[in-house]
C-alpha cells in the first residue's frame, strides 16, 4: 500500500498540453501510472498521447469520476488558480510541480486546501513515487527501487541521488515524497512521517533536508515527543555561506535561523542520527535497522 500514491491512483494532469506537462505525461504513462485525463483551458476536446483533454477540472472529473489525484504543471502565475480549481472539484491529492509561485499565494492556497481536507504536495516538488507501482511527478523512475524505506525530501535531484545510493546498498523505497523546496509547502516532514508510521510496508524513514527555514527543527521537536520508526537524516548546505539564497527559495539561513548546525543539533537531540556525508546515509540506516 505504501503512502499517498499506489495502484489505485488515477491521475489528472493540469497543464497537460504544455511542454513539461506532455513530456511528463508520457514518462508517467511509461512508468505505469494511470493518467486518465488532462486539463488545459481552451484545449478541451483534444488528446495528448491518447489522454483526453478537458477545458476545466470539473468537466474532467465529471467524465472521469475515478480521478483521485491531480498533478499541476501550470506556470507560476496560473498555478494557484489550478490548485483552487482542483480542490473545488473535489480532488483530495494535488501534486504541484510548479516552481516560483509567490510564497504568500502559496500560503493562502495551501491553507484553503487544508480547510477542505485536500493534501497539497509541493509547490516546487519533484512529486511522489511508490516504486514499481506509481509515480506522480518528474523523478526518473529507474533510480528508485521498490523496498521498505520511506524517503522524505525538500529537494529534487538530491532525492534521486539518495534513492540511488539506497538502491546500491540494497535498500529499496516504499514511497518517496518531495515536500518541495519553497518556504511554504502543503506537507511538512511530520505530515509525511505520520503516514509512514501507519504504513506496514515502511520500516524506517530517511529525511533529506537542507538549510533555511525551520522544517527540520519542527520535525525534530515532534519526533522527540513521540518517535515510532527509525529516522536517519541528511542535511545539505553545511558549507553554504549564511544570508545567501542557495537555489531554492527556502534555502537561506539568516541569523541563527535555518543554519546547518541548528538543524543537526535539533535532529540529534531528538535521537535522529545525521549523516555528515551522503555515503553515510545507507550506513546509518543499516546500523539502525540491525538494532
Amino acid at each position: 500500500m505504501a503512502i499517498l500514491v499506489g495502484g489505485e491512483t488515477r491521475v489528472l494532469v493540469q497543464g497537460i498540453t504544455g511542454r513539461q506537462g506532455s513530456l511528463h505525461t508520457e514518462l508517467m504513462l511509461k512508468y505505469g501510472t494511470r493518467v486518465v485525463a488532462g486539463v488545459t483551458p481552451g484545449k478541451g476536446g483534444s488528446e495528448v498521447l491518447g489522454v483526453p483533454v478537458y477545458d476545466s477540472v470539473a468537466e474532467a472529473v465529471e467524465a472521469h469520476p475515478e480521478v483521485n489525484t491531480s498533478v499541476v504543471f501550470v506556470p507560476p502565475r496560473f498555478a494557484p488558480d489550478a490548485v483552487y480549481e482542483a480542490v473545488d472539484a473535489g480532488i483530495r491529492l494535488i501534486v504541484v510541480i510548479t516552481e516560483g509561485i509567490p510564497v504568500h499565494e502559496a500560503l493562502l492556497m495551501v491553507s484553503y486546501a487544508k480547510s477542505k481536507s485536500a493534501v497539497v504536495v509541493g509547490p516546487n516538488t519533484p512529486g511522489v513515487i511508490t516504486p514499481g507501482k506509481c509515480k506522480v511527478g518528474i523523478m526518473p523512475g529507474e533510480l528508485f527501487k521498490p523496498g521498505r524505506i520511506g524517503l522524505i525530501s525538500r529537494s529534487g535531484t538530491l532525492t534521486y541521488e539518495v534513492a540511488a545510493r539506497l538502491a546500491a546498498a540494497g535498500f529499496g523505497v516504499s514511497t518517496a515524497v518531495g515536500i518541495g523546496g519553497d518556504p511554504v509547502t502543503g506537507l511538512s516532514f511530520w505530515d509525511v512521517y505520520e503516514r509512514f508510521l501507519e504504513d506496514p510496508e515502511t520500516d524506517a524513514v530517511v529525511l533529506v533536508g537542507e538549510i533555511g527555514g525551520t522544517k527540520e527543527e519542527e520535525f525534530a521537536k515532534r519526533y522527540a515527543a513521540s518517535p515510532g520508526k527509525h529516522v536517519v537524516a541528511y542535511i545539505a548546505g553545511r558549507a553554504a555561506p549564511p544570508g545567501r539564497r542557495m537555489g531554492h527559495a527556502g534555502a537561506i539561513a539568516f541569523g541563527a535561523t535555518g543554519t546547518y548546525a541548528g538543524k543537526v543539533e535539533a535532529l540529534e537531540r531528538a535521537g535522529i542520527p545525521v549523516a555528515r556525508r551522503l555515503g553515510e546515509v545507507p550506513e546509518l540506516l543499516a546500523s539502525r535497522l540491525k538494532r
Binding site: 491553507s111 526518473p140 518556504p183 519542527e218 553545511r238 539564497r245 537555489g247
Partner: protein, 369 residues
C-alpha cells in the same frame, strides 16, 4: 532578496511603526551629511547598510558625537566589504536610549503553514542565544489574521501596553502582506520613555512575487550584482560567489549544495556555487560553463549531474562546446555524470578528453586532489 535596513524603515514608516530619525547616504551624498542630517540630535549611530546579519560584529555599527565624526565613519564604511558585498549606503541615526530591548518578528512558515510571530524580551544582537527561554511563538492562520487576542498575548509576554504594541504589530502584519515579505524582524524594538521604537529592522522579500511594490528595491539590488550574478539571473541559474578556487556546478539546489559540502569536507575551497536548475539543455550548460570560466578566481570546476529530466548527453555536449570556446583558460574540469543517458554523456566527454566519474566521491577526490 534581503532588503536593506533603510528600505525596511521606509516600509515601516508607511504603516505607522515608529522608527528613529535618520538619514541615509551613499558616496555621492556623504559629503553633504552636515546639511542633510542637521536636524539629527547627537549622539548618533552610524550603520552600514548590508544584506545580511552580523554587521555589528563586523564593526559596521559605530557611535558618533558629532556630524563630522559621523561623516568620517560613514566614509570609512562606504565601499568596505561585508561578505561578498560592498557597502553602498550608510545610515546615520539618532541614538535612541532603550529602557529595554525587545524582539519581534513575523515570518511565513510553520507547521501547518501560517505567519509565525515570535516575540522575546531579550532583544539585541545576540537574541538567538538569549531568547530560547523567553521566546513566545504564535502561529497566525491566514484565514484568521492578526486578532486582538494575539496582540494581548504578545503584549503580556513582552510586558508592554496593548495600546503601544497594537499599532506595531498591525503595521508589521500589513507590511508583510503588502510587500510580499517572507520575514520581517524588529531587533531590537526599543522600549523608551516615549514608547516603542523599531531601531533596527530586517526583511526578506519574495522576489518571485511579481509584486510591483518591490520594483525599486529589486532594481537597487540588481545594480549591486556583478556581471556573474546578472548573467546568471538572465539564464535562471542560481549563482553564489564564494571565496575559494573550486567552482561547483550542479543540477538542482539540494544536489549542488550537497556537492559543495562534499568538496569542503574533502578539504577543497569552493569558489562558486551554480545551480543549473532542472532540464538543462546543452545551450544552458554551455552558458553556465562560460560564466564559470570567466571567473578569474576559479581554477577548477566540478560539475555534478544527476540525470532525470536533465539528459547527461545534453550536459556533455554543452560542456564540450564551452571548453572548446575557452581553450586559453587553463582550468581543470572534473565531471560526475549519473542517471539518464550517462553512458552517452561519458562517451562525448571522453572524446573531448574529459573524464567523467560515475561516483561523486571519486570526482570530489579528483578535483580537490
Amino acid at each position: 532578496m534581503i532588503l536593506l535596513e533603510f528600505e525596511v524603515k521606509e516600509i515601516l514608516k508607511q504603516y505607522g511603526v515608529p522608527t528613529e530619525a535618520a538619514v541615509t547616504v551613499d558616496t555621492t551624498s556623504v559629503g553633504k551629511l552636515n546639511e542633510l542630517a542637521s536636524h539629527l540630535r547627537s549622539p548618533l549611530v552610524v550603520k552600514a547598510q548590508v544584506r545580511g546579519w552580523g554587521r555589528g560584529k563586523a564593526g559596521l555599527v559605530k557611535f558618533a558625537e558629532t556630524l563630522e565624526e559621523a561623516e568620517k565613519l560613514a566614509r570609512s564604511m562606504l565601499g568596505s566589504p561585508f561578505g561578498a558585498e560592498r557597502v553602498r549606503y550608510v545610515m546615520v541615526s539618532e541614538f535612541v536610549k532603550p529602557r529595554r530591548e525587545l524582539y519581534l518578528s513575523m515570518m511565513l512558515g510553520g507547521d501547518p503553514p501560517g505567519v509565525l510571530l515570535l516575540a522575546s524580551t531579550a532583544g539585541g544582537v545576540s537574541v538567538e542565544e538569549k531568547a530560547a527561554g523567553s521566546l513566545l511563538s504564535l502561529r497566525l492562520d491566514p484565514s484568521v489574521g492578526l486578532r486582538s487576542y494575539a496582540v494581548r498575548r504578545v503584549a503580556k509576554h513582552l510586558g508592554v501596553s496593548e495600546a503601544l504594541l497594537e499599532p506595531v504589530l498591525r503595521g508589521m502584519f500589513r507590511a508583510l502582506w503588502d510587500y510580499s515579505l517572507t520575514l520581517l524582524e524588529l531587533n531590537p524594538l526599543a522600549e523608551t520613555e516615549h514608547g516603542l521604537v523599531a531601531i533596527d529592522r530586517k526583511a526578506i522579500a519574495d522576489e518571485d512575487s511579481g509584486n510591483p511594490k518591490l520594483a525599486s528595491f529589486i532594481s537597487r539590488y540588481e545594480e549591486e550584482l556583478g556581471p556573474l550574478q546578472r548573467e546568471a539571473r538572465k539564464w535562471g541559474f542560481a549563482a553564489v560567489q564564494l571565496e575559494g578556487d573550486i567552482a561547483v556546478v550542479g543540477n538542482g539546489a539540494g544536489l549542488t549544495m550537497a556537492t559543495l559540502d562534499a568538496v569542503a569536507d574533502a578539504g577543497g575551497r569552493p569558489g562558486l556555487f551554480l545551480d543549473l536548475g532542472g532540464g538543462a539543455a546543452a545551450e544552458r550548460v554551455k552558458a553556465a560553463l562560460g560564466l564559470v570560466l570567466a571567473q578569474p578566481q576559479v581554477s577548477k570546476i566540478l560539475v555534478n549531474i544527476v540525470g532525470g529530466i536533465t539528459r547527461c548527453d545534453e550536459v556533455a555536449r554543452g560542456l564540450v562546446e564551452a571548453v572548446r570556446e575557452r581553450k586559453e583558460r587553463d582550468v581543470k574540469i572534473v565531471v560526475r555524470l549519473s542517471g539518464f543517458m550517462e553512458e552517452e554523456g561519458r562517451r562525448i566527454l571522453r572524446e573531448a578528453g574529459i573524464v567523467a566519474y560515475p561516483s561523486l566521491e571519486d570526482a570530489v577526490r579528483e578535483v580537490v586532489g
